[in-house]
Amino acid sequence: MNMTDILAGLEQSVLSNNPEETARALQAVKSKEYSGDDILNALTRGIEKARQGFKQDKYSIPDLLLAIDAYRMGVNFLKNYPPFSDAQKEKKSRFQIVIGVAEGDVHDLGKNIVAAVLEASGYCVHDMGRNIPNEVFLEKLESTKADVLALSTMMSTPLDNMAELIRMVRKMFPQTAIIVGGAPFDVTLAHQIGADGYAENAIAVPEETKRALSCITAGEQAVASKGLT
């Protein structure tokens, strides 16, 4: 197998629904001493195809999750891949996103998927978990200097509290973009509550995040300079 085939195999393994295939593909690239960037690009092409497949209804949610799991396996592999991990340390940090489920709600399945999609799209994601009090979000925003706060709820009852959090974030961290998602939301409610963006589903999240960031930061140029997909 030539070098291009091996990378194509890695890319394809992301779509295979088979973690063992991804593990085998990673072993194959290791033996050939590819650059970390080549490996990351192959993985990214794979996850991008999965995202597109989901968008076009060719893949189901579990297919997408298996692809994200494969992508994550590859990214974890890269963390211990010396030439790549050393180079990454020197790279400028990526956009930081704090994500979590509002206080009073324990439904975190959607949030977990969104967090993984954002991670796979090149963002640095700080996943706070579920049922998170407002002050914990604020502390994390302070410590990470996050560019984006992504809030989720599946219920309507935490919305008042969420609106209060958004008001506080606006006041304390005016440079932080806020996106929301979950069952009770639509575009109108998202804007009413004070968010910069609303993502209807996990697939829409990367684009919506980019859009919300471009409203807050210096625009699309800044987004592009941080190498987001």
Binding site: N17, N18, R72, D108, L109, M155, S156
Partner: protein, 232 residues
């Protein structure tokens, strides 16, 4: 009036049927699932079944009256226009039967652990919990129906806070105040969320004659995803 022992509620534990139901729930066609994925789903089901600690509470109370948007019982009140309206179609609605059933906290604990490893397994376990707790609630509902029948009552279907026009927060608070579910290690957050997550709370109405078991037949929300009966 109602005595249901834990042995009366059998856990739905047919792995193959559960696997089909879970596939359907998560968006897989059971026929198209590879052997490897099928085996992975089966393993998660087995893990889930081993973790289930099924517990429930059932308590009845007398209906003391109902108005346009309210059903009043001794120690419990239901704020729902649609269900209050349904009582107008019944003959002598006399009993409210409230229950909470839970799969226990182990499912939540295992799911938290799985989430650290990947996304697929907790997704399947979550679907497993949803399917199983609804099956268990179906079983409990049927058992309550049998008990009510022994007492010469027909009964409505179960209805839960957060559905129809019954508010989640006020509904869960009403049921939890009445049942005190701490006994089965269930608690209700201020927003109405129950912990453990795989828990179901509901109420049934007992009456001498129940021609319509839900308000669906005279409800105008024809596209409601939770519709249980068609309009006449």
């Amino acid at each position: 009036m109602i005595h249901i022992s834990p042995e009366d509620i059998k856990l739905y534990d047919d792995v193959e049927t559960l696997s089909s139901l879970i596939c359907e729930q998560i968006g897989y066609s059971p026929d198209s699932v590879s052997e490897q994925i099928h085996s992975r789903i089966t393993d998660i089901i087995q893990k889930g079944l081993n973790a289930v600690e099924l517990e429930f509470l059932v308590r009845t109370t007398a209906i003391t009256g109902w108005e346009k948007a309210n059903i009043d019982g001794t120690c419990v009140n239901i704020e729902s226009k649609k269900w209050a309206n349904l009582l107008n179609t019944m003959e002598s609605p006399e009993v409210l039967c409230c229950f909470i059933i839970t799969l226990g906290k182990q499912i939540d604990i295992i799911n938290k652990e799985l989430r650290k490893k990947n996304l697929f397994d907790p997704f399947v376990l979550d679907a497993f919990g949803s399917v199983l707790v609804e099956k268990a609630a179906d079983h409990l509902e049927a058992s309550i129906g049998i008990q009510l029948k022994k007492n010469n009552y027909e009964c409505s279907r179960r209805f839960s806070p957060g559905y129809c026009d019954w508010g989640l927060k006020s509904g869960q608070e009403a049921i939890c105040r009445f049942l005190a579910p701490g006994k089965i290690r269930v608690r209700c957050l201020t927003t109405g969320t129950m912990v453990p997550a795989k828990s179901v709370s509901a109420v049934m109405v007992g009456a001498k004659c129940v021609p319509w078991k839900t308000p669906c037949r005279f409800c105008r929300e024809i596209k409601c995803p939770y519709r249980r009966e068609k309009n006449e």
